[in-house]
């Protein structure tokens, strides 16, 4: 019998250098800032890109982890935590549960997306990590969970940690194929 460790190396995912991802993402964001006048539009589009990635990442996640349905939102949070480790190589803490148990946060003390990144003063309102929020929303939508996700604290703006909030909205009854709305 093989005893599996808690580490996610058992999922045998292929890796790439994180700086390649950091800089590729940085180049894309910089290009968007040039293309779009409004910083809020950039943030929105980043969320959208993340969503597109999320709806496909979930397949990858389910295939590699062989995971089943979640029992409750706590279970979901734990699984997303695993996904963070698998895909970004960082393990966030799950905390700040709301009293009703329908909202929680991921607290990241480091984040490969923001290594080497510094926001200039005129872009302080940019939600640079919105990609992650979008990915969470997209991935969960594919397993019939409608959630909202947003950034509460941001290391790029001088906060100690990056905090990503997730709020459960409702269960989706009909699973629509990706791209049809």
């Amino acid at each position: 019998m093989v005893i599996m460790s808690r580490s996610t190396s058992k999922f045998d995912t292929k890796k790439v250098n994180s700086e390649l991802v950091t800089l590729t993402y940085g180049a894309l964001v910089a290009q968007m800032v040039k293309d779009l006048e409004n910083t809020d539009d950039v943030s929105k589009q980043l969320e959208r890109l993340g969503y597109n990635m999320g709806i496909r990442l979930i397949e990858d996640f389910l295939a590699k982890t062989n995971t089943g349905r979640c029992f409750d939102l706590k279970d979901t949070a734990d699984k997303i935590q695993t996904a963070f480790k698998m895909y970004l190589g960082v393990q966030p803490n799950v905390s700040n549960w709301s009293a009703a148990g329908d909202e929680f946060s991921f607290i990241l003390d480091s984040n490969p997306l923001t290594d080497l990144v510094e926001l200039p003063d005129d872009l302080k309102s940019l939600k640079y990590c919105n990609l992650i929020c979008g990915a969470i929303r997209g991935a969960l939508e594919m397993v019939q969970l409608d959630v909202q996700s947003w950034i509460v604290q941001d290391q790029l703006k001088g906060d100690q940690n990056t905090e990503i909030r997730v709020k459960f909205i409702r269960r989706l009854e009909d699973a629509m194929p990706a791209g049809e709305e």
Binding site: V16, N17, L28, L116
Partner: protein, 185 residues
């Protein structure tokens, strides 16, 4: 301005660059990059130019990062050495292995070829039939061009479908002439 609150990125130690992210994550991100560029372009050459430009943005940043980390801040002055730097150091750091081959053109002394059978960025891309000339590795060509040009070896770098992907590096006359002078001394 309080000093503590505004610790800039330069106050932090440089990471060792050993961090890893899953390949799926990069592949999907790159797919979004390509789609973003495609939505902004009418033609294949336009799309390639956009990818090339994004690659250059990445390349410019890599110069300082890798020369400080891997070479103690010492830059190259010889043409062959900078090409080897790209083939070995840069490739290893970015893609985990050296590029497959580096060749000098027989017909044109200003031209070098860097070959890679299976570039990381093309791994999950299937090129549609009507866009068969599209090679998304122009993104990497952009990175190479920025690194060479930014270190004083002005060149144009393009990506072609030949033995996998071949990056054609065409140096400016002046660069080749200067290199010859260096050799004569």
């Amino acid at each position: 301005m309080s000093l503590n609150k505004n610790r800039s990125i330069l106050d932090k130690p440089l990471s060792r660059g050993k961090g890893e992210v899953s390949l799926s994550c990069f592949a999907l991100l790159f797919s979004e990059v390509v789609q973003y560029c495609q939505n902004k372009s009418q033609t294949v050459p336009e799309l390639q130019t956009r990818l090339h430009d994004l690659g250059q943005t990445v390349g410019v940043k890599l110069i300082d990062l890798y020369f400080v980390r891997e070479r103690n801040g010492k830059r190259e002055i010889k043409l062959l050495n900078i090409l080897l730097f790209v083939k070995s150091t840069l490739w290893k750091a970015l893609f985990g292995r050296e590029a497959d081959k580096l060749e000098h053109s027989n017909d044109d002394e200003n031209t070098y070829y860097l070959m890679e059978k299976d570039p990381l960025v093309n791994k999950f891309i299937s090129v549609p039939k009507d866009k068969s000339s599209l090679n998304c590795a122009v993104f990497i060509a952009g990175i190479i061009e920025a690194v060479l040009t930014g270190t004083g070896f002005s060149a144009k770098v393009t990506a072609h479908w030949h033995k996998g992907t071949t990056y054609m590096v065409k140096f400016d006359e002046a660069v080749i002439a200067r290199d010859k002078q260096l050799e004569e001394r």
